[in-house]
Symmetry: C2
Subunit: 111 residues, 2 copies
């Protein structure tokens, strides 16, 4: 489970992959495998959540890291390269580094 | 606070705004105002978190809604239009509707 709070001292990566709908599931499988076997064990990784777009054309990885340096160290590690190449063979990749500005909750019971 | 879990029955909107860095703060102010005064009170809204990219070129709204229909009802409501127009005057808008496929947590203590 991932929690989003503006008080947490962390950096948020929101990486948007654009993919042919026929390849969406394969991209998801590849990103799950990369995260389970490699990324999740990296120093400074906190949590991540993988999302599939309902129209089939996108996949978003929302990830929290302790620092930019920790994330970059993982990206540059030799064992990360094959996973990234596998994903990039299937999709175009729009990366982004963010901080949380504000959070909002409902004022009604919507459950 | 927003919680991301694959077990929750909801739809996730990940809307990416691309903006001139000089206009990023104005876009953020506009989206905060729209969410506080309007969106947050809509039927079916659960929670949202607003993110600013560290390079100044993007803003991401990550929002959870009970259903697609609830989100679309808000978007089509007459009082939503001015807020959306204000944001679209400052930025280009890449919307997306998602479901959570998987979540991952660290296996170390990174706090």
């Amino acid at each position: 489970m991932t929690t989003i709070s503006k008080d947490a001292k962390l950096v948020t990566l929101i990486n948007v992959f654009t993919v042919e709908p026929a390849n969406q599931q394969q991209l998801i499988d590849s990103l799950v495998r990369a995260t389970e076997t490699s990324v999740r064990h990296a120093q400074g990784f906190i949590s991540a959540a993988l999302h599939r777009s309902l129209d089939g054309t996108k996949v978003v990885m929302y990830a929290q890291w302790r620092s930019i340096e920790d994330y970059q160290r993982m990206r540059e590690a030799p064992h990360s390269a094959p996973f990234l190449q596998e994903a990039l063979a299937l999709a175009t990749f729009q990366p982004g580094m963010y901080q949380v500005v504000e959070t909002f909750v409902s004022d009604c019971d919507n459950t």
